[in-house]
């Protein structure tokens, strides 16, 4: 990336406060997830002398029900949290875009079939479907979890992309490509896809927001097998396993994951709204 482009992006961010605040939050979380585990070791061995130890210099967020340092759990958990939502976002966007592009460009019987499928998938309630799938499949593989989380979110994007393609394919240069005998798939992925990239990018962010909501829910409700330090799992343990929620001096343990979940969710929402503002100013 050229220095100039970086400067442009920075100017836009500074002007759009929502995008700025959102990107700062997201970046800090990414830094925490990538670099954090290198700096802070995770020691899951029980230390019964420091069960529910209050925040201190040695343990900035205190300790949990078996005396494990909460900050290190949060930091290592950030990895699981971000990895899962990132994969889910990618899968949603890939399936949604491909379906939408094909449906919109080829039209006819292909479109009728795909569009009916999309309509049907859209009527199935999202979170219950995800919970049922997660409960049945019982996987701990991040890609499978991503697939479960995308179970019906891809359909929204497919529908939106399809209508965009309908308008784009009438444009002159597409006609020109056709006349030049360029293959259909080449037109779809070489000509149309690049135009839609910003739009797909915004929808990637929306998909990530949705995936965070659903994935924390899955771990919180306890339907996915243990990923020991996922923040949703931490909440699950605090609420249902260890009974920490009833222990008056364990408040920091209950509150810590809540704060990080809310902060990340707020960051993602602000950033996605901000980016949407930048690309669709008329929606303000």
């Amino acid at each position: 990336m050229k220095l100039n482009e970086i400067k442009n992006i920075l100017t836009i961010l500074v002007e759009n406060k929502r995008a700025l605040v959102g990107s700062i939050i997201i970046l800090s979380f990414i830094v925490m997830a990538v670099i954090g585990p290198l700096l802070v070791p995770l020691d899951l061995n029980p230390k019964f002398n420091q069960v529910y130890a209050p925040p201190s210099l040695a343990h900035p967020l205190g300790c949990d029900y078996i005396g494990v340092d909460i900050l290190s759990e949060i930091i290592w958990g950030a990895r699981d949290v971000l990895l899962i939502v990132f994969i889910a976002g990618i899968i949603t966007v890939v399936i949604g875009s491909i379906t939408g592009l094909i449906s919109g460009y080829f039209g006819g019987i292909v479109d009728l079939f795909l569009n009916t499928l999309v309509d049907i998938v859209l009527t199935i309630p999202g979170l219950p479907l995800v919970i049922v799938l997660a409960g049945l499949i019982q996987t701990r593989d991040p890609i499978s979890i991503g697939l479960i989380l995308s179970a019906n979110s891809w359909a929204w994007l497919a529908r939106a992309i399809r209508s965009q393609v309908f308008s784009i394919r009438e444009r002159e240069f597409i006609e020109a490509s056709k006349a030049m005998g360029i293959g259909k798939l080449n037109i779809v992925f070489g000509d149309i896809l690049p135009i839609l990239m910003p739009y797909i990018g915004i929808n990637f962010l929306f998909a990530v927001v949705q995936a965070l909501y659903a994935s924390v829910a899955l771990f919180f409700i306890g339907v996915l097998p243990f990923s020991t330090v996922h923040w949703g799992t931490m909440l699950n343990i605090a609420m249902q396993v260890s009974g920490a929620i009833f222990v008056p001096y364990a408040r920091h343990y209950v509150i810590a994951p809540i704060i990080f979940i809310v902060l990340l969710q707020v960051g993602l929402v602000l950033f996605s709204y901000g980016i949407e503002d930048i690309f669709n100013p008329r929606l303000k």
């Binding site: 919970i131 049922v132 339907v223 009833f246 809540i258 602000l270």
Partner: protein
């Protein structure tokens, strides 16, 4: 007219698809439901030997697992048409009975929550649109965005933690206190409200911002329309312009959202209801998942999907009546 037929056909197709999906979803998954059933019987002490458990499981299973798949599917479909959704594995009660018992609680809480958040959100959104560009507006929009970003189950957990444990003001579980007699008496009604308040608040606090931001965006567009300027030029009262001009035109699109939400109302949230141990559909759904209670899961999921599909249909059909501009026929 042709459009209506197509729309209804799509809804029926979706329902059929969902029914088939629930059938296969559970049959094709790892962990045969029969095995789960058998283990459940042994663990709960209802059968002493494995053979006995298998015999009982067979008699309790709604379908004969030895039949070919297509025959099972047809039996399943016929069962649904008769209203027979099988029996819960964990409680041995018919699934339809569980739905009948738990649905009123969920509908009660969700409808109260929906009505409250829709009204608060709509009024707030109109006020914000009218106060465009003020500090009050900027501050409120920021606050609303943040509120809207909080997942409702996190809000529920916070409220539960704060008001039943840290400050034990509200009851922790159930839909009413065991000391009152259900029926039409003041004590019962008060107890029901007391138990429902926190779940309702969890939904309202996280949902109202979405309604408010939605109508604010609509109203900002409407405020720029010629007919609003003309209405001012015509010397109409401000109150009349806000309600009949800005309000009516911005609320219209909100109605589609409202009717769609009515569909989701029947599901409740598995998480929020579990946190408050509220005996609604969502709570049974969550426990069915963790207990791998397949018949119950199937029945609840089917009920949920069908209400959502019907609400979708209703939203599309109603919209053509609410908005005089929409002409049926695409």
């Amino acid at each position: 007219m042709k459009w209506i037929y197509r729309r209804v056909l799509l809804a029926l197709l979706s329902i059929f698809f969902t029914v088939v999906l629930t059938f296969f979803l559970i049959r094709l998954m790892p962990g045969n439901p029969m095995d789960v059933y058998v283990q459940m019987l042994i663990r709960s002490g209802r059968a002493r030997t494995r053979e006995e458990a298998i015999e009982r499981a067979k008699s309790l299973m709604p379908l004969n697992m030895n039949d070919p798949l297509w025959k099972q599917l047809i039996d399943y479909l016929l069962g649904i048409l008769r209203g027979d959704l099988g029996r819960s594995i964990s409680s041995f009660t018919p699934v339809s009975e569980i739905i009948v018992k738990s649905l009123p609680w969920t509908v009660f809480v969700s409808s109260m929550a929906l009505a409250t958040s829709f009204s608060i959100g709509t009024i707030l959104g109109l006020v914000l649109a009218y106060k465009r560009g003020t500090t009050f507006e900027g501050f409120s929009v920021a606050a609303l965005t943040i509120f809207g970003a909080i997942p409702n189950y996190i809000m529920a957990l916070l409220l539960f933690y704060l008001f039943t444990i840290v400050y034990p003001i509200f009851p922790m579980r159930g839909a009413y206190s065991s000391t009152v007699t259900p029926g039409f008496n003041l004590n019962f009604i008060l107890s029901v409200l007391q138990h429902a308040l926190l779940p309702i608040a969890s939904y309202v606090l996280t949902d109202f911002s979405g309604w408010a931001l939605g109508i604010r965006a609509m109203a900002s567009t409407v405020l720029g329309e010629d007919y609003v300027t003309v209405a001012k030029a015509r010397g109409l009262r401000e109150s009349k312009i806000i309600t009949n001009y800005v309000g009516r035109n911005s609320i219209l699109p909100q109605f589609t959202g409202l009717i769609l939400s009515i569909g989701f109302m029947f599901g409740g949230s598995p998480l929020v209801e579990s946190i408050f141990t509220y005996p609604g559909i969502g709570r049974f759904f969550a426990s069915a998942v963790s207990a791998r209670d397949y018949p119950l899961l199937q029945g609840l999921f089917l009920m949920l999907s069908i209400t959502v599909i019907l609400a979708n249909l209703l939203a599309d059909l109603l919209y053509t009546f609410i908005d005089p501009r929409v002409k049926v026929g695409d």
